[in-house]
Structure formats: structure tokens, C-alpha cells
Amino acid sequence: MDLLPTEEQQQIIDTLRGKLLNAAPVERLRPDRHGQVGNPDSELWPQLAELGFLGLGIAEEHGGIGLTAVEEALVFREFGRALVSLGILGITLGSHLVAGHDSSLLTAILGGEPVGIASPRGPTTSGTKISGSFHLLDAADARHVVVILPEGVGLVERTAFSEVDGRMSMDSNTILQRGKLDLVAPLFWSPAASEMVHTRAILLLSAYAVGMAEAVLAMAVDYAKVREQFGKPIGSFQAVKHKCADMAIAAEVASCQVAFASIIVAKGEREAVYQAHAAKIVAVDAALKNAAQNIQVHGAFGFTAEADAHIYVKRSHVVDFLAGDLREQRAALIRTITPPN
């Protein structure tokens, strides 16, 4: 029993963190760089592909790296920390959906071809055919879109959506559209009740949220150490220190649970569903609360466009709504009759 990363896993984390610090510093999302509206991250996909970070959890026989949900969760923390476009989730889930079914499409995705995400705006129907109204995330330049529904995860062609209509997103670095599916049969479909892709989606979103919760904790602490008022660093005042301590608690709770859940998901045990729901509850809770506290610790500067604090708030809200928001996660958890122990 060991809940800490192995040496090899730590190497993966360090390599990716180093790569993202250079290729995707959070400053890239500031107004004076790539513009506050838009998303520069599709340039990242081929680079991540080259380093082997795409297809991490895909079996070697299908052309992946042959690692597990544990390593995927570890890299998704780093993606969250760096606010990498959620298109990375489209690529990861897309590759799981097609692995073993369509090798040329898998090769394209693992080479860095963008895959969008579709998330329901309201009630949907699924089964052999999907209908409903969706938000499309970072899907504008994608051939395929991963549709995340309560009943499962499917892959459809982007052209299967009708009435596609661009929308400004609260998270202005996410490229947002609306679109409809009307009795569209997915190219590939993984039911939540019998397979792991849906649970994996919940887990990876949780990991992404942990990365965000930890990133804003670090931002707040760094700022509280240097910003002075009344002749002292504000971090010496308990009103600020205790806020930071609460952020550290929330991040640690979420981090431990996501690590725990990732091991169970990797094993493919039935318990994985419960553990993933629990992970998303504590992780999204931590991301939302920490992101808000981080703005408060930064004061008026935290409220500006050029402080990166606001982007974490907005991305946390987007992550909350994917694969079921806190309300749905809690309903799912309380529905479970006997928890694993």
C-alpha cells in the first residue's frame, strides 16, 4: 500500500510540469499575449504527442504507452495546474473510445488531432441514438467530438451537430458553441453502467480540479508572503493565514482522494464509480472555493483581467458542469446503498 507516486511516476510529473512551464505558462492566457478570447493550446497537442503524453493510458498493443488511470490522473493534475485547454480531455477520452476499434483514427488522435467535447445543456436521450442540445467545447477545429452523457460517453463527427452557433464563454479561453444532435448514432459508445470511460472522465476532471486547487493555493501563498500592508506581509495576519490554511486543507483532501480513486479506477473495480464521484465532489469543491479565496487574498489586483486568478474561477465552473455537476455527483453518491470500505 503506497499512495505516493513512484520514482517513475514522479519523473512523468516532473517532465510534464517542466514542459508546460515552458510551452504553456499561465501568462499565455493574459490579454496582452494571445488575446483574452481564444485558445492557443491546439499547438500543444503535437508536442505532447511527441513526448508520449497522449495515449498514456492506452494499451501498447493499440499504439499507446500502456500505463494506467493512475498516470493519467497525475498528468491531468498538471494540465489543470497550467489551465491546459479541456480539449485534452476530448483527446484522452476519444482515444479510449476508439482504441481497439479504429486504428487509423487512434493514430491521428494520438498524433495530436484535436477532439472536442460536448456536454448537455439540459435533458438528453441516448441509447443507440443521441438527441439533445449541447455545449461544444474547444470543438471548432475538431473532426470528432466526445459526448459526455449521464448514461455513457460517445464519439460523434462534429458535422453531426446541427444549428451550431458560436457563443462567448464566461471562461473566455474556452471556445464555446451550441449545437444539437437529433437521433445521431455515435461512432463509438461506452455505457457508464458496464464500462470505465465515463468513470475515467469523472476521475480525470477531478484530477484537473486538484491541479487548479493546488495552483491557486500556491499563488495565494506566494502573494501573501510578499504583499505588505501595515508594514508587514499580509500572510502574517491570521485573517489571511487562515484562509491560506483552509485552501491547503481543501487541496490536500482532494489530492488524497483523487490518488486513491485513480488506483481503484485503474483496477477497473466496481467500487471505482463511488470513488470517482467522491473524488469529483471534493476536488471541484476545492477548486471552486480555493479559486474564490485566491481572488480575495490578492485584493483588487485579484479582480483584474491580468491577474490569472479569475481564469481558475471560470475554468472551475466549466469543469464542474462536465460529467455531472456537484448536485448530480452528490445525488449519485447518496444513491449508493452501501459504500465500499
Binding site: L4, C256, A259
Partner: protein
Amino acid sequence: MNLDFTPEDELFRAEARDWLNENVPRAQRPPEGQAMREFDLAWQRRQFNGGWAGVSWPVEYGGRGLSLTEQLIWYEEYARAGGPSSELLFVGCNHAAPTIMARGTQAQKDYHLPRILRGEVAWCQGFSEPNNGSDLGGLRCRAEIDGDHLVVNGSKIWTSGAHLADWQELLVRTDPAAPKHKGISWVICDMRSPGIELRPILIMTAPGHHHFNQVFYTDVRIPLSNVVGEVNDGWNVAMSTLGFERGTASMSEQIRYGAILEKLIEIARERFGKQVLEYDEIGARLAQLRAETQAVRAMTYTTASRVARGSLGSEASITRAFVSQLQQRIRRIAVDVIGPDSIELPDVDPWIRPYLRSYSNTIAAGTSEIQRNIIGERVLGLPR
């Protein structure tokens, strides 16, 4: 990263489970008084006779010297079997004994450790004073050296179980001229010594509930041979004990609360109906508590992993701060789950007294505010 236990661990788990299922007391633990003392001591003796006392104690002191993983398994099985909390023996088993092991003389070890382990004695803690709670380092209870004795004068307060204890771990000021953390000594005080007087302090849980005390010391003579560590080095001695309390000792408590929460969910399902609960406010809170309780298990495993790698730092204070508040919220929701009848205070009371008692969770053994200072300064490196 893995959650695999070795075949030896699994064998140990099976043995622990069997023994606990046969031996855990079925009778309700008395909430206070001599009956509670007898209950806790009898259960400790039973564990000792069964070879299960001091699973985490080194073999040389009569324990089983088990690895942290095995301790974790023991705590899990203990909680699963519904083992009682043995609160009165906590100070002896988890404070005094580890401190004596770490800093005590051979004579102190030989005399006290077996008595603690065999369930013959109860200990209490004499740390807080009327004017020094969170600011423990400023304590004033005086002790002057007179020949081969210390002579103690002063007062301690909030001393849980002083009226039921045989011994006390007592912090006294032995050098009033030294800087505040450098003039303190950690001594073993016989609670039957002449000059000790107790004033019972009733607590808020229920009328007449005698839990803690103010203790007055008037010319109380304690042999110098009862000083643990060096005279005037008591602050360092005490810190090693507090570190223990904030670390692994509360593991079983953390696990026990899972069962308490599940019982509440069962009651809520019966009262509100399964369907209603799903999108109901109480259902959402219960789900949140379930997620957090599961996360505590993950945190406990993480702590064990850090200890196994020798890398446990101040992170344990994060777990403790979180757990004390989580337990409080679990106790609090009981009132809403039970509904109007929770304003009754029945004799057999699994919910209301524990709820009221939980107000102390974020005060005792370091307030939540002190815990946050520790997290802020030692974990995050924020300035004092």
C-alpha cells in the same frame, strides 16, 4: 501508487477481525464516572490478555511492534467491529507512554509502561491553565526544587478525567527567569499526592455531566526522579507528545466516523425516503460528508505512506484540522436527520450528547485556529 496489501497483512487482518468480533464489548460504554473507568480499563485488560494491547508499541515495551500498515489494518478492523473509544485511556496510551518511551528513564519505563499497557491505570493531562490555553508556552504553575523533590504550587484547568485518573502528565515552570519555552519541566504526578484538590467543571452536554476539572496544587511534593527528560527541557518533551497526538494516534477515530455517518444515512432514508433524499438539501449534505469521509481514509493512507517513506512532516496537522471539523459536521447533521425528536435527551443517546460534545472537537488539543497557524507557518511557510 498502489492499494495492495501483502498476504501477511491480509492474514493479520483476518486474525484481528476474528478476535475483535469475539471480544469487542457488546454493552454500551457508560458515559462518565467510575463505571466508565472500569469499562475502559476492563476492555484494555481484555485486549492485553488477548495479545492485542499496544499493537503499535515496540516489542521491548510489551507491544507487538507492528508496522504502520498493520496498525492501520488494526484500526480499520477495530472500527469495523464497533470497538469502543476508550477515551479515558487515550492520554496514558497515546501521550504519556510514547513520551516515556522516548524520553523517560529506565526506572520510569519499567514502572509505568506495563501498568498502562495492562489496563491498570488511567492518566490525565495537566497542560492548560486558567490563563494559558492556546498560549501553552506561557504556563505559570510553579515548581521549586527542594532537595530531591519538586514542590508544586498553582493550578491547571480543563483536565479531562482528573477525577478518574491515577497519574498525570504535568507541565510546570521550574525556571521563571528563563525565556518562556526554556523554563518548563514535564513531570509525572501521582494524583493521590497530598495537596491536590479538584474542582469539578460540568460540561455543556447534559445536566450534571462531570467531564473535566480545575486542579489546584498546594505544596505538592513530586520526586525529582519523576521528571521526564531534563529539568527545564519540558517544552521539547511536550512537543514530541503533541506531535504524536496530531499524527497517527487518531487514525481509528477517523475510521469510526464512517460507520456513524452510514447509520445517519440509514435513518435519513427511512425518514425521508430514498428518492426524496437524492436532490434534497440534507441528501446533498450527507453525500458531501460521505465524500469527505472517504477522503479521510485516503488521507490516512497517505499519512501511512509518508511515514513508511520517512517523509511525514507537518502535513499531519492538515488531516487533524480537517477531521475535527468533519466530525463536528457529522454530529451536527444528526439533529437535522432525526428531526423534532432531537430536542429530547434520552437515556440511551447515540446522537444528542455526542452532538453537543462535538463542540469541543475544534477546541481540545489545539484549537482550529492554532491548527491553522501551524498549517500556515510550518506547511505553507507564511511569516509569523
